[in-house]
Symmetry: C2
Subunit: 652 residues, 2 copies
Amino acid sequence: MGALGRLVLGKPTSQFAPRMKPRALRIRYALPLLAPDALSSVAYAPDEILLTLAAAGMAGMALSPWVGLAIAAVMAVVIASYRQTIKVYPGGGDYTVAKENLGLLAGGLVGGAAMVDSLLTVAVSVSAGAQYFAAVVPGVEDHTTAVAITLVTALTVLMLRGVKALDTTVILAVYAFIAALGVTAATGGIEALIGTLPAGPAQGLEVVPSAGLESGLTVLGAAFLGLRAFSSGAVALTGVQTISTGVGTFREPQERNAARSLAFLGIACAALLIGTLALAREVGAVFVADPATQLRYPSGKPVGADFHQEPILAQIAETVFAGARPIFVVVTGLVGLLLILAASSAFRWVPTLMSMLAHDEFMPKQFYRRSDRRVAAHGIITLGLGSAVLIYLMGASVTQLVQLYIVGVFLSFTISQLGMLRHWNAALPLAKTAPERRRMAGARAVNACGLVLTAVALVIVVITKFTHGAWISLGLVGCAFWFMVSVRRHYRRVAGELKLPPGDRTDLGLPSRVHGIVLVSAMNRATARAIAYARSTRPATLEAVTVAVDSARVWELRRGWDRARVPVTLRILDSPGREITRPLIEYITAVRRRRPRDLVMLYIPEKVVRHWWERWLHNRSAARLTSRLRHVRGVVVATVPWQLDTDPAAAE
Amino acid sequence: MGALGRLVLGKPTSQFAPRMKPRALRIRYALPLLAPDALSSVAYAPDEILLTLAAAGMAGMALSPWVGLAIAAVMAVVIASYRQTIKVYPGGGDYTVAKENLGLLAGGLVGGAAMVDSLLTVAVSVSAGAQYFAAVVPGVEDHTTAVAITLVTALTVLMLRGVKALDTTVILAVYAFIAALGVTAATGGIEALIGTLPAGPAQGLEVVPSAGLESGLTVLGAAFLGLRAFSSGAVALTGVQTISTGVGTFREPQERNAARSLAFLGIACAALLIGTLALAREVGAVFVADPATQLRYPSGKPVGADFHQEPILAQIAETVFAGARPIFVVVTGLVGLLLILAASSAFRWVPTLMSMLAHDEFMPKQFYRRSDRRVAAHGIITLGLGSAVLIYLMGASVTQLVQLYIVGVFLSFTISQLGMLRHWNAALPLAKTAPERRRMAGARAVNACGLVLTAVALVIVVITKFTHGAWISLGLVGCAFWFMVSVRRHYRRVAGELKLPPGDRTDLGLPSRVHGIVLVSAMNRATARAIAYARSTRPATLEAVTVAVDSARVWELRRGWDRARVPVTLRILDSPGREITRPLIEYITAVRRRRPRDLVMLYIPEKVVRHWWERWLHNRSAARLTSRLRHVRGVVVATVPWQLDTDPAAAE
């Protein structure tokens, strides 16, 4: 990365250094650290539910509490399932569950989905964050894409540099977020009860039903619309799996603490979702895909292109704290902050994920060392770039990005539940006591229930959203899967090729003699050092070779050679085409042909420069020669460095 | 350059292979090969002269024959001067003249100017070519920038691939161009004499004088305008120096043949320039900077924005061959072709120029080997990109590009003439006979005359054109000069640092012992080969070292080690941070510290892959380690390649 990298990244911090011992935090610290992902998805889920239902106008929006309840019910089952996962595979997560029970390929699929989900976590969270930003800062409503891409860039640079006290910020932000929403709900509830709740910004606006739904909903139509709203709102479930991959954060008893935390988190999310939907109804909040055509004043006049539609939580806060704009700004700002922190957790998770995948050869092996700053930087930059591209392509539309997001999430959910089911099926016959068998059967029932629900949700999502972007998700997951499988196949093939035949020791047989060649171009100290080093290895034969590109320089070299009384023969290769590489390759191949069992050691003096741009001025021919000689068997290239212009103290 | 390079470049051709013997062509072949540069500049010079004079309306344009004669006169002197240069420095050119007589820095300045001139030769010629293209093909008038950039791109790719029979094309095109213009001039002259010359496309149009010049020209005003027109038209002189750098193309007696060719070329250019200006007057051709405001119909109505102004030669051909459009198309097409070929000659010249500069360490030394396809490709791509950028910035305006061009050309002219003057001053006292002294004095007079004229022209050009773009040229030449001087200073500094102290043989002293280390990560055939090779060099001590990043893998390595009964100790380095590079660097520095007079030979097994993208999957840690170890003294890194998945026949 060099100078530019250091400029952007600053001094190394320890954020990617692996922790030698688990962090062992109390629930009150560990839970908020892992919560932003799950909580933030509840911030934009109500918007998506109402937006889908708005297709049937006011009649559709009346369905919202039922959709909320359905999602809360599925959430309860999914959380119960993940509590089983935590107990059986503490710290493993979906990838481990799939890999252990369904084979490496299923693991690869979950891994691919997880990679795509990280991209989308960032894209969705930041796009939603940009909406809340626009609700508070006037004048940026029409530039949310630019705002979101700026936020992603800033986040990428921050994560590359490392953020001190990020953990503390997350913990404080989560409690502040919950407190803020609690206060909002309490204030709003009381105001609604005593009848002092003011009119919301959208109160009185009418929602125009889509073509074909003007005459109200049939039962079938309502069911279908409800399913679509459910599949959009199901995004509220994303993030619950985070706890199952972060069990190591909790203190002992880890599994129990993690499982309890997961239950708390589920309750908080469900309460938040249902509370938000209820309050949205009270304040008459509306959220539609295209305000200009879907909203109209009671007079029947459309609101027009200038109308700025705020996200639901902002509408609620604006209504509840109608007289106190500072409070509204704080609440909205906290929602935005939590969304950004959710994105930052994806940045922290990706190096770990890639390291897990690299361990199973699904990723280039350098990613295994996630503590390596450069390696982590590759993951972070890829994530930042990828999510910026997604935001740009989708115009920072939360609605469109959510469609992509849920497919990957529910794919992981379903495969992971299937894995758990297989786990219990295999474990049940081994149970020794009746209570143990009963406990396992119960757990299996929970996971089976989870499998059915998540599979149904996945099918609904794919069917109802296929043309809305689910195909993009499936394509991305497919690409990631193909990449990972290709990498693994490559490593497997190489390992097979390199495998030592058992008992056969021919590979350890020594070459009969060593023939040393020193490549020289001028008689100087670098050349002298290369010759001295080559001589000290005492090869059977040693010669120096130069290519005659310029006769004046060859003459000068010979004079210097004689003057320094170098005890090595100098061979001058003719180069009719003024080439350097070809005559040398030809000569070395000729030497090899004469004595095929010999080893050729080629010593190349190398000038080591201080600045990266100086590299362009030196060692070009040597670099090319080295890269060509790699393909010639029986040749070892040894570079003898000469450190130019360096501080002797630093060099040692 | 890899696969992409091969795709674009195709199979290597021999166009950059240096010729072992001079080509020794007859004048009839050698002269046209070197002529396009000079002839093509005469194609756009009349346009620039008329354009400048048009500032004073019709009265100004009446001055054009006088300006043409002045340029022809200067051309005669410059050509006489270059005939001297050819005799004294056959095959040298301005760079050699400046370097030999005025020192390396003056040579560097000429070299920098020559680099910038190559860029501008391409930019000007192709932009002018695009004008002629637009004169023949309707509908592209408003897209000359796009046309010019497309042409540059095509030319770059063609030159990279190599063009077969380019020489033949050039020779034929030059004769066809001269024949076409001869026929045009003869036909036009006869038509004018017998009074059948039809009205030209611009006949009857009035040229509006610029503000301040409406009331006619004062003597001073006419002189100043004439000077400005002269400085624009002086572009006709560019290209005459080409012959002085291509003396090797002629057969013996080379110098005499080259000098005669130069005289022929001068006569042809002068005739062409004066003939074009005369015919332009006959057909009433006009050429102005901004037709929409500067041209009006006799009725006083401006011609408007839709008016398309053709270059002068096209206007002449259109008038002379008014009844025979195919002939017009052929003549115009030949002019365009010659312009493109002039650009192609710059592409062929740049690798030679860079090689000359690299020989004097003004360029990275790899450019010395101009026959090397990759090296030549760097020059060609730089030239193509640079000229495309210039064309884009100047909107393919020939007028603006010409302003930039002449500054560099006259800078070279002037320095070169100054060099010749110094040459004669130094040579004159050594003359032995009176006739020799007289001859030298005469030659000195010619060069002095050339110096005065080119210096005056340079001053005029810089003064009258400074704000029109001359400052850009001077800036570019300055940058090129700075770059070249920096490169040379770097090489000089390195050479000084590496210089062997005379008589001192300490640099050839041998290290006391060799300590061999083999870097291993898994027990496989690549590792086995590295160990075998390391053992065959019989170091004083040999050990194998691995970094414990993953305990399972270390355990597997130890098992394989024991099973293969490797006769080398395996040392396992701890890595608390899962890093690879740092523990190794620390270990090697510790070894060095214990025995500072020993040499450490580090053997690294390297997997050689077949496809470039597979490189990303292997040897990453080794590459990083190697690049870090370069800075540690007394360590030699030897890479032991293992060719993966290769055809055994190809590998040998």
